[in-house]
Symmetry: C2
Subunit: 213 residues, 2 copies
């Protein structure tokens, strides 16, 4: 794999062009998939004059895909972090669930998870992409685990609660919910699986009883 | 969309050729994705002499994809049905969970769900494929819902249990688990989310208490 020139040796103008290419490629790959996005499509969408400019910044498509994955991880975490950083009560879990559902509605249930779409397409065919996405998921998971660990430390969850397992289950349920939202064009599966997971976490609630339904 | 010639007007030999093309296309699309699979790849894998034979049976790629989706729905249900048809106790839920995990291990955690991979790639770009996959998921979901409804009728689940919602949540969790298995190359996320969902269903268990962890 050729290495990304990154942003190190670039002028401000060069950085802006590079960022424009990554954002355009990310948008197209999110809409159509990586394989269905051609260099020409990206060149056109990024308003870059020649294919040689793309090669100048990224060498090959795989290196550009690497930059797109990094971009999408940052985008997802930028949206999720303000919510995840205070994900340490059942109220905030509920607010996070509502925000995730709202985002899907706002985009007409299209697109699915930017990381999940890349993971589904690339995990089997690009080992580097697979690991990069796994690391991105790991950052998300750690943030949720920390919030649940705080709840346990404060005595809101009982000692049997395993923040690591609950965070992994919640992330995994979210991935399924986003995929099913994309397939169903409605948020019912997403809502249902997130509610089920929050109910699962609630088994450990110290001050609240598990709900009857 | 041109219509599939189907199997109606075909001779036995024609049917065999058609089936071979569909199976070869399904295998390649599962490994690489739909967009990354060319007509030439399929022709070679199916050991078909000329591209015109592919056109004879399927007209265009979209029609072939339609046949591939049908094939994968049948494959998934053929594997799942014997397990799902008796999914009416916590023991059978556990056995189903173990069987699903075992299948992933046996294939080195590669590939993900044959329906999920197609859904992730096609839901936004091929409305017909999206609806066909949704109907496939629906068949799976109905089988699980019926099993949970039997448990409720026999009094093993309380009256507050909603078999439809629980089945949808379980299917959605499974989809997330299969995607994460593909990305992580291990079954931990799959096991964790299925265990979480079975624990969630267990909240309604009449003869058993919800587990402490």
């Amino acid at each position: 794999m050729k290495s990304d020139t990154g942003t190190r040796q670039l002028t401000a103008k060069g950085r802006a062009t590079r960022d424009r290419i990554v954002a355009a490629a990310a948008g197209l790959m999110y809409e159509r998939g990586v394989a269905a996005t051609t260099t020409e499509d990206i060149q056109r969408a990024a308003e870059v004059k020649s294919p040689s400019q793309l090669y100048h910044y990224f060498g090959d498509k795989r290196t550009l895909v690497q930059a797109v994955i990094q971009y999408q991880i940052e985008q997802v975490l930028a949206f999720q972090r303000p919510l995840l950083s205070r994900l340490d009560s059942f109220e905030s879990l509920q607010a996070w669930r509502d925000a995730v559902v709202e985002v899907q509605r706002a985009r007409n249930c299209e697109g699915g998870c930017p990381l999940g779409s890349l993971a589904a397409e690339l995990s089997d065919v690009d080992p580097g992409a697979r690991e990069q996405l796994m690391a991105g998921y790991g950052q998300w998971e750690d943030a949720v685990r920390d919030g649940l660990a705080s709840m346990r430390e404060r005595g809101e969850l009982d000692a049997a609660a395993d923040p690591g397992r609950l965070a992994l289950a919640l992330l995994t349920a979210l991935q399924g919910g986003l995929l099913m939202t994309q397939n169903r064009r409605d948020t019912l599966a997403l809502e249902t699986v997130l509610d089920a997971m929050i109910d699962r976490i609630r088994i450990h609630a110290v001050t609240q009883r598990a709900p009857a339904s």
